[in-house]
């Protein structure tokens, strides 16, 4: 199973990625403290993009990708993915 993100910013991408990996870092939602440890990728990352036919990418993703900092987003998601659930988020005050 793979999680694909379409988040527009580096911060949002990191938040989503952490939520499905180590658990909700804001400690506000149902996934607080729940480490799903799912492999997560941003849909514009090269490893994902390589699997998508250029015509499909151009039709569905390319326009929005042009308005994003895809390098920074990819790096943020990759760092969360590679850290995995080995660094769980501590609850506030804990």
């Amino acid at each position: 199973m793979v999680v694909l993100l379409g988040t527009p910013t580096e911060d949002a991408s990191r938040l989503y990625a952490m939520t499905v990996t180590t658990g909700d870092p804001s400690w506000a939602g149902a996934l607080a403290g729940v480490a799903l440890d799912l492999p997560v990728y941003h849909v514009t990352e090269e490893t994902v993009k390589a699997d998508i036919a250029p015509a499909d990418y151009d039709e569905h993703l390319a326009l929005m990708a042009m308005a994003m900092d895809v390098d920074a987003i990819g790096e943020a998601v990759r760092s969360v993915r590679e850290a995995g659930s080995s660094s769980p988020v501590a609850p506030p005050g804990g």
């Binding site: 199973m1 793979v2 999680v3 694909l4 993100l5 379409g6 988040t7 527009p8 910013t9 949002a12 989503y16 499905v20 799912l38 849909v43 514009t44 490893t47 994902v48 390589a50 699997d51 998508i52 036919a53 499909d56 990418y57 569905h60 993703l61 929005m64 990708a65 994003m68």
Partner: protein, 41 residues
Amino acid sequence: MLKGKKVIALGERDGIQAGAIAACARAAGAEVILEKTYCFV
């Protein structure tokens, strides 16, 4: 990487919407089991 995988597509209204992610994932041979587009306005 996507072929034969189950995919959860999490989109955002100000970014790429889940329907677009799901369409690409399906075309690449994945099975989309959940697609959600969030909005934080």
